[in-house]
C-alpha cells in the first residue's frame, strides 16, 4: 500500500515529458543515454552504407561506380563518422544509460550538461552530413593531414565543415565525460566502495578520464586548422614559420588514446558478459582494473607510432616502438583472465556469449598485426597500405563492435522489457563473424602485396582482383548481419518474450529494478555489501529511504567508501541546454564562412546561459543574513 503511494508520487516527480518537446527538454539519464545510443546507431548505419559503396567500387579493377572525388569523400566521411559520430558517442550513451543504474542512483550529477552534450553532438553530426549530401563533404581523410587540408590545397568549405564537426562532437564528448566521472565518484549506492564497482563502471571511468585529457588536443588542432583556413593564421604554413608536423603531433596525441577510449569500454563489456554467462566473478578483479589504468597511461605515450614514416630521430622511434609493444602486457592479462574465467565457470552459450568468443578470436588477431606495425622497419613498408586498414578494423570492430553488439543484445531487455530472439541472434552472429573475416582478412594480403589505402581504383594487372572481390562479398555478408540485427530488434520489440527484471540472472544493480526501469529508476535505492551485488546481497539487505518524493532528490555518497553523505536536488526538464547547443551551433556554423560567427556565437550562448542559470524561486534553507 505504502509502496503504491510512493510509486505514484515518484512517477509524478520524475515524469518524462513526451513528444517533440519532451525530446528537446528531458534530461533524465535514460532518455539522454537512449538518444545517444539511437543517434549513434543511425550514424553507424550511414558509415556502413559508405563502407558498402567503397567496397562496391573496389570490387573490380577500373570500376566507375563512383568518381575519385566522391571516393575521397566516402572514406573521409566513413572514417570520421565511425570514430567521432558512432564509436565514442555510442560508448558514452551506453554509459549514460547503464552506469547510473549500475550505481543504484536516480540521476546523474549534471543532467543538463548531458542534454547539452547530446544536442551539440547531434548538430555536429548533422553538419557533416549536410555537407556530404550536398556533395561538399570533407575529402582529406579522417585525420585531415595538412598541407593537404590547408588553405592552399583544399579550397572551398569542405575541410571547414570537418573541423567544426570535430569541435562540436568533442564538446559533446567532454561534457559527457565530466558528468560521468562526477556521477561515478559521488552517486554510488551506499556500500559500493571503489573496489566494489562493476568493471563496466571502471571502464567508463577510465575512458572518461582519457577523454578529458585527449580531446582538448584535437580541439586545439582543429581550431588551428580552421583559423589557418579562415583568417590566414600560419600555424601549418612552412613559409611563415609554421610546421605541418605540429598537426600530426596534436592529432595523434588525441588519435591514439581515441582508440583506447573506444576499446577500454569494449573490454569491460566483455568482462560483464563473461561474468554474466559463466556465473562467476571475472578472475583477478584488481588486475583487471590495473590493466585498464595501465592501458590508459601507456595509451598517452605512444602517439608517435603513427608518425614513424615522417623521419623523426632514431632514438625517439625506438622509445615509441618499445612503448607500443608494452601495451600488449595489460591487454594480454585481460585476455587470459577471461579465458580462465570461462574455463572455470559454467558455460552458458547465449547470443551475447558468442560475441565474447568472436571478440577473443578477432582481437588477438588485431593485436598481433598491431605488434607487427609497432616495429618501425615493417611500418615503413606497410604504412598507408591496406594492411593498416585491415589492422585498424580488426582492432576497432573486434575490440568495440563485437562486444557492443553482444552488450546491446544483453541490455536489450533492460531497455525495452523484451528479449531479443535467440535464433535470429545466432544467425546475426554468424553473418557478422563470417562477413567480418571475409572482408578484412584479405586486406592484410592486399597490403602485403602493396595495395595502397585511399585509392579509388587499381589496374587489373596488379594481381589484386580476387582478394578485392572476396573482401567486397564479405562486406555484403557483414551488411546482412547488420540488417538481421535491426530486424531482430524491431521484431523483438513488438513480439519478443517478456523479460522480467533480471532475465539473465545477472549480478549488477541495473537488474535490481524492473525492465525497462521506471522513470525514478528504483523505488527504494539499494545498498550493497560486495562486488557482484545481486549475487552477494543479504536476504535482508537494507534499502535507502528518506527522500522527498515531490522533489528530484538524489543521494550523494563519499568518494572512497560510498558512505551516505548528503543529498542534492537535480533539475527538472528544461529547454535551455538545448538552446545553448543551438546557440553555439549557429555561431560555429557561421564561423565556417566568416569570423564574425565567433562573437555571434558567444552572444547567443550568453543569452542561453543566462536562461539556464536564472535563479529559480528559492525553496531551500536561506542564509540567516539576507540583503
Amino acid at each position: 500500500m505504502i509502496d503504491l503511494e510512493l510509486h505514484v508520487q515518484l512517477a509524478e516527480t520524475w515524469r518524462k515529458p513526451r513528444g517533440l518537446w519532451g525530446w528537446l527538454t528531458d534530461n533524465h539519464h535514460t532518455t539522454i543515454g537512449m538518444n545517444f545510443i539511437v543517434t549513434s546507431f543511425v550514424f553507424f548505419l550511414l558509415g556502413g552504407i559508405e563502407a558498402i559503396l567503397m567496397r562496391t567500387q573496389l570490387a573490380r579493377p577500373e570500376n566507375h561506380f563512383v568518381t575519385n572525388d566522391f571516393y575521397n569523400q566516402l572514406f573521409t566521411t566513413h572514417g570520421s563518422t565511425m570514430m567521432f559520430l558512432f564509436a565514442v558517442p555510442m560508448i558514452e550513451g551506453l554509459g549514460i544509460y547503464i552506469v547510473p543504474l549500475m550505481l543504484g542512483t536516480r540521476q546523474m550529477s549534471f543532467p543538463r550538461l548531458n542534454q547539452f552534450s547530446y544536442f551539440s553532438y547531434l548538430i555536429g553530426g548533422l553538419l557533416l552530413y549536410a555537407g556530404f549530401f550536398l556533395n561538399f563533404g570533407p575529402d582529406a581523410g579522417w585525420f585531415s593531414y595538412v598541407p593537404l587540408s590547408g588553405p592552399e590545397f583544399a579550397p572551398g568549405k569542405r575541410i571547414d565543415i570537418w573541423a567544426q564537426m570535430i569541435t562540436f562532437t568533442e564538446i559533446g564528448s567532454l561534457g559527457g565525460a565530466v558528468s560521468m566521472i562526477a556521477t561515478i565518484f559521488k552517486h554510488r549506492a551506499p556500500g559500493m566502495s571503489l573496489n566494489r564497482m562493476p568493471l563496466f563502471v571502471w571502464g567508463e571511468l577510465v575512458t572518461s578520464f582519457m577523454i578529458v585529457f585527449a580531446m582538448p588536443a584535437v580541439m586545439v588542432a582543429s581550431s588551428m586548422l580552421a583559423s589557418d583556413r579562415l583568417i590566414a593564421t600560419q600555424f601549418f604554413n612552412k613559409a611563415e614559420g609554421g610546421d605541418v608536423l605540429l598537426w600530426q603531433h596534436l592529432f595523434w596525441f588525441f588519435g591514439h588514446p581515441e582508440v583506447y577510449i573506444i576499446f577500454i569500454p569494449g573490454t569491460t563489456m566483455m568482462s560483464t558478459l563473461v561474468s554474466a554467462f559463466t556465473k562467476r566473478p571475472v578472475f583477478g578483479y584488481v588486475g583487471m582494473v590495473l590493466s585498464l589504468v595501465a592501458t590508459a597511461f601507456v595509451g598517452f605515450g605512444v602517439w608517435v607510432h603513427h608518425m614513424f614514416a615522417t623521419g623523426l630521430p632514431e632514438l625517439g622511434l625506438s622509445f615509441f616502438t618499445a612503448s607500443s609493444v608494452l601495451i600488449t602486457i595489460p591487454t594480454a592479462f585481460q585476455v587470459f583472465s577471461w579465458i580462465i574465467t570461462i574455463f572455470h565457470g559454467k558455460f552458458i552459450v547465449r547470443t551475447p556469449m558468442l560475441y565474447v568468443l568472436g571478440f577473443l578470436f578477432i582481437f588477438v588477431m588485431g593485436g598481433l598485426s598491431g605488434v607487427m606495425l609497432a616495429s618501425t622497419p615493417l611500418d615503413w613498408q606497410l604504412h598507408d597500405t591496406f594492411f593498416v586498414v585491415a589492422h585498424l578494423h580488426y582492432v576497432l570492430i573486434g575490440g568495440m563492435l563485437f562486444p557492443l553488439i553482444g552488450a546491446l543484445t544483453y541490455w536489450f531487455p533492460k531497455f525495452t522489457g523484451k528479449m531479443m530472439n535467440e535464433t535470429l541472434g545466432r544467425w546475426t552472429f554468424a553473418f557478422f563473424f563470417v562477413g567480418f573475416n571475409l572482408t578484412f582478412f584479405p586486406m592484410h594480403n592486399l597490403g602485403l602485396h602493396g595495395m595502397p589505402r585511399r585509392v579509388y581504383t587499381y589496374l587489373p594487372t596488379m594481381g589484386w582482383n580476387n582478394l578485392n572481390m572476396l573482401s567486397t562479398v564479405g562486406a555484403y555478408v557483414l551488411g546482412v548481419g547488420v540488417l538481421l540485427f535491426m530486424a531482430n530488434a524491431v521484431i523483438s520489440l513488438r513480439s519478443g518474450a517478456i523479460a522480467g527484471d533480471n532475465p539473465w540472472g545477472s549480478f549488477s544493480l541495473e537488474w535490481f529494478t524492473s525492465s525497462p526501469p521506471p522513470p525514478y529508476n528504483f523505488l527504494y535505492l539499494p545498498t550493497t555489501r560486495d562486488r557482484y551485488e545481486i549475487w552477494t546481497m543479504a536476504d535482508d539487505q537494507p534499502l535507502v529511504t528518506g527522500f522527498r518524493p515531490d522533489r528530484r532528490e538524489v543521494l550523494i555518497t563519499k568518494l572512497m567508501d560510498a558512505f551516505p553523505d548528503h543529498k542534492i536536488e537535480t533539475p527538472r526538464p528544461t529547454i535551455w541546454p538545448t538552446l545553448l547547443a543551438g546557440a553555439t551551433g549557429i555561431g560555429v556554423i557561421t564561423a565556417i564562412f566568416t569570423p564574425w560567427g565567433v562573437p555571434l556565437g558567444m552572444l547567443l550562448a550568453g543569452i542561453a546561459l543566462t536562461g539556464w542559470f536564472w535563479p529559480k524561486p528559492p525553496h531551500h534553507e536561506l542564509l540567516e543574513e539576507q540583503p
Binding site: 580541439m219 529511504t545 543521494l555 553523505d565 534553507e621
Partner: protein, 204 residues
C-alpha cells in the same frame, strides 16, 4: 513530508542529511576541477605548440615584432592579482555563511576583473603584429584569444554573481558555488602569469 520505509525491512534513513556540502564532497566541485583539467590541458597544448614552433627558428620572436607596452601588460597582471584579495575574503566567508564579506568581496573582485578587461583591450589594440603575420603571431594571438575569452566570461560570471548576492534571497546552498566561482576565477588569474612572462620576456 518524506518517504516512509516499507514494513519488515531494514533501511538506511537519509531524511536528515543536508542538501549541500563543500569541497570534494560536492559533485560540482569535481565538475569544476574536471573543467579546469580540460582547460589546463588546452593551455598546456598551446604552450607546447609555442615551444614546438620556436624550436624551428633561430631568432625568436621573428624580427620586427613589437609587443604591447610592458607597463600596460603589467597593469593587467596587477589588476588580476589584486582581484584575488577580495575574492579570497568571499571564499573564506562562504564557508562561515557570512553574507556581507561575500558581497563586498565579489563587488571588488568584479571591479578588478573589469579593470583587467579594459587594460586587456588596450593591450590587444597595441600589439604590433597580426595573427596572419607569421606562425609566431598566430600562436601568440591564439594564446591571447583563449585567455581573453576566459577573462571576459569570468568577469561576466563574477558580475552576475554579485548582482544575485545583492538582490537575494540567498540560499545556503549557494555557498559552495561561491567558493567554486572563486576557484575558477583564480584559475583565470594564475593561468595568465606564465603566458605573460613567456610573451614578454622570451627572446633569443
Amino acid at each position: 513530508m518524506s518517504e516512509t520505509a516499507p514494513v519488515g525491512r531494514r533501511f538506511v534513513d537519509v531524511s536528515e542529511l543536508p542538501m549541500f556540502a563543500f569541497g570534494p564532497r560536492d559533485p560540482i566541485w569535481w565538475g569544476l576541477w574536471l573543467l579546469l583539467a580540460i582547460e589546463s590541458t588546452m593551455f598546456v597544448l598551446l604552450a607546447s605548440s609555442y615551444f614546438y614552433l620556436r624550436g624551428n627558428e633561430s631568432t625568436w620572436p621573428p624580427p620586427g615584432v613589437h609587443q604591447a607596452p610592458l607597463w600596460l601588460t603589467a597593469l593587467t597582471v596587477v589588476a588580476l592579482l589584486l582581484s584575488v584579495i577580495p575574492t579570497w575574503w568571499a571564499f573564506r566567508a562562504a564557508i562561515q555563511f557570512r553574507l556581507r564579506p561575500i558581497q563586498i568581496g565579489f563587488l571588488l573582485g568584479t571591479l578588478a576583473s573589469a579593470a583587467a578587461c579594459v587594460t586587456r583591450a588596450y593591450e590587444l589594440a597595441t600589439i604590433g603584429y597580426n595573427w596572419n603575420s607569421h606562425a609566431y603571431g598566430s600562436i601568440v594571438w591564439a594564446i591571447y584569444f583563449m585567455h581573453t575569452f576566459h577573462l571576459t566570461s569570468g568577469t561576466v560570471e563574477n558580475a552576475v554573481m554579485t548582482v544575485l548576492l545583492f538582490k537575494g534571497p540567498v540560499e545556503k546552498k549557494l555557498m559552495p558555488d561561491i567558493r567554486l566561482s572563486c576557484i575558477y576565477w583564480w584559475f583565470v588569474v594564475v593561468s595568465w602569469i606564465p603566458f605573460w612572462i613567456v610573451i614578454m620576456f622570451d627572446k633569443s
